[in-house]
């Protein structure tokens, strides 16, 4: 077990190492001199040179990379010139906001998609199934931009139920969460449907029924646990999609989360911040995947933690 954990940690480190390289290269390739950007437009040559020296920009790239890596290990994510703040604090605060809508969105998505997917899979070929499949297909075909705009048009401008943007009460979270969860919801519906269909054809389901367990219990208790497995597997990777979607959604709903921060950082070419965001996102993704794997081993004992 210890060996496996170590192996896993090593793999994780390799991934993070790769990500830091990508992030570093991106920043070095980006146009504009970071030193110039740190200073006001009126800065003199001398000031710029001093700043370059201070920021270590005169060192060879390799040295710079390891300096950067060293800082990272110390927990120093660098300084955002656009926000005039430490990246670490900035990202953390934004991350919490993104986590809020993402978690709520995912929960809503699960609450809707799990029964829907299961019923569609069980009642394959019926009207319920067709409706669920149509919903799922449309959901996946909808561009998040378009979805958000429609939602605003309907719920804020039309019905005046929900605030259009910003933070504050729970009402502010409804639309961003729904938008974040929407494509996930349709994906889970679809996957659950097809895995339910697969599972119901398995011999062990027939075997369970042959032991006199009622259909309902078999579906809800036994088949469900098997059918959910593929969804658990993909949910780690789905997090990436959710985060990507949140860039657009947070922008539209003016939700001060990581996605919006990313867009701001990119559009203001605050590459130090972009770099840190990439690393943080990678860490989150890796951790979530790890979590998913652990979760998976709990549900499915066949796969050992690897």
């Amino acid at each position: 077990m210890l060996k496996k954990i170590l192996r896993r940690v090593a793999l994780t480190l390799i991934v993070l190492f790769g990500v830091t390289i990508i992030a570093f290269v991106l920043v070095r390739l980006s146009p504009g001199d970071p030193a110039v950007q740190m200073l006001p437009a009126t800065a003199t040559e001398e000031q710029i040179l001093n700043m370059r020296e201070r920021m270590g920009l005169n060192e060879p790239y390799i040295i710079q990379y390891f300096m950067y890596l060293g800082n990272l290990l110390k927990g120093d994510l660098g300084f955002s010139f656009h926000f005039n703040m430490d990246c670490g604090a900035l990202i953390l605060a934004r991350l919490i906001n993104t986590a809020k809508i993402t978690i709520i969105g995912v929960l809503i998505a699960l609450i809707i998609s799990i029964p829907l997917g299961m019923i569609a899979g069980i009642k394959r070929g019926t009207a319920v199934d067709t409706a669920a499949t149509a919903f799922a297909l449309c959901g996946q075909a909808m561009s998040p931009v378009w979805l958000c705009l429609l939602m605003i048009l309907i719920f804020s401008v039309g019905l005046k139920w929900l605030p259009t943007q910003g933070v504050g009460t729970w009402k502010h979270m409804v639309m961003p969460s729904l938008c974040v969860g929407f494509s996930f919801c349709s994906l889970v519906t679809r996957m659950l449907r097809s895995s339910m269909i697969d599972v119901l054809q398995e011999e062990y389901i027939t075997a369970t029924r042959a032991r006199g367990i009622s259909k309902f219990v078999v579906y809800v208790k036994y088949a469900f646990k098997n059918a959910i497995l593929p969804i658990v597997t993909i949910s780690g990777a789905q997090l990436g999609l959710l985060l990507a979607g949140s860039m657009v959604i947070e922008q539209i709903f003016n939700w001060p989360g990581l996605g919006q921060l990313t867009v701001t950082a990119i559009s203001s070419r605050d590459f130090q911040l972009v770099q840190s965001i990439l690393v943080v996102v990678a860490i989150i993704m890796v951790l979530c995947n790890l979590l998913v794997d652990i979760l998976y081993t709990f549900i499915d004992k066949r796969v050992s933690f690897n």
Binding site: R124, G125, Q201, E202, E203, Y204, I205, T206, A207, T208, R209, A210, R211, G212, I213, S214, K215, Y222, K225, N226, L229, I299, D300, K301, R302
Partner: protein
């Protein structure tokens, strides 16, 4: 033996059963006008090639044909005189696992991989015996011990067991409530010879001890000879020959049964050239008219092509469905 058979009453009676699978516009007639009777305490073997409809018959009895695909088009199945087909789902649930149990062919796929084997056995006990979790566990441990699995392994998952052990778990789950009828669908096909021997010994013992009836489905004629008193040979969804094991194996009367026996290499005696049955295994989607076996039969006559032969009684322990059989039996 004859006397015993006579006093035994009918436990399960399948009469005139026809089952079809319909999917994608295709119809497979898996079982055709099948008649079968299993008496209390009796062990019956059901043999036949792949696709003969053996599993379908078993599933029909259990009421577990795949929904919307497999359906019973004709006939009836009665259990202790009660029609299983007309029975409500709830009632059926009370019979399944308690009165009639089933062991499946593939020990790996017939156990749910994400539940412990302990759970898979206790769930039967809790359902049918209304036991508390604790009592059920205790009893499950007893049953597992009976099939030779120590109780400390109850918390393990199916993949942690070998094929033979899994099949024992399957048998334990089936026998948990001491059913009156056990249907075993090729319980040893996926297992090694030595493991198969273990399972067969186990089943023999259990059946003796519990005095339950057994419907043993298999390809392997040897298993039937060892385990059963009566045998039914299936071809193309029909029972073509039926009788006591010794009768049928020593005096096979249907050309299909004869072919089958000739095609199997023997473990002893002269090594003779095998005689294979010509043609292809019957395809449930296009069964021929008349005797289902006639396209492959070397003794086929016009009558065979046109009309399905009736089941004729050769003696009280031997029935066969062949136009020629009566005469041939006379020859012997």
């Amino acid at each position: 033996m004859i006397e015993r058979e006579l006093v035994m009453d009918e436990l399960l009676k399948i009469s005139n059963l026809s089952v079809e699978y319909r999917s994608g516009g295709k119809v497979a007639k898996a079982v055709n006008n099948l008649n079968l009777t299993i008496k209390k305490g009796q062990a019956m073997g059901l043999v036949g090639e792949s696709g003969a409809g053996k599993t379908t018959t078993a599933l029909s009895v259990m009421g577990l044909l795949p929904e919307n695909i497999g359906m019973i088009t004709e006939g009836d199945i009665t259990y202790n005189g009660e029609s299983l087909i007309q029975m409500k789902e709830k009632q059926k649930n009370n019979i399944r696992g308690k009165k009639i149990s089933m062991v499946f062919a593939n020990p790996l796929s017939s156990l749910n991989p994400v539940f412990t084997i302990g759970h898979q056995i206790t769930m039967v006990l809790r359902k049918h015996k209304n036991l508390s979790e604790k009592d059920a566990k205790k009893e499950a441990a007893e049953i597992l011990k009976l099939v030779g699995i120590p109780d400390y392994r109850m918390g393990d998952y199916p993949h942690q067991f070998s094929g033979g052990m899994r099949q024992r778990v399957g048998i334990a789950a089936a026998l948990a409530c001491s059913p009156e009828l056990l249907i075993a669908d090729e319980p040893t096909t996926a297992l090694d010879v030595t493991i198969q021997a273990q399972i067969l010994e186990l089943m023999k013992d259990l059946q003796k001890n519990l005095n339950s009836s057994l419907l043993m489905i298999t390809h392997n004629l040897g298993i039937i000879a060892e385990l059963c008193q009566t045998v039914a040979v299936m071809y193309g969804g029909e029972v073509v020959e039926y009788g006591s094991v010794q009768e049928v194996f020593e005096h096979p009367s249907h050309w299909y049964t004869i072919g089958l026996l000739n095609a199997v290499p023997k473990l002893a005696g002269e090594r003779q050239r095998l005689i294979s049955i010509p043609g292809n295994v019957a395809n449930a989607q296009m069964l021929p008219e008349g005797c289902k076996f006639h396209p492959r039969c070397s003794r086929c006559i016009e009558k065979c092509k046109a009309k399905r032969p009736d089941m004729i009684c050769l003696n009280e322990k031997h029935y066969v469905q062949c136009w020629e059989a009566g005469g041939r039996n006379g020859e012997q």
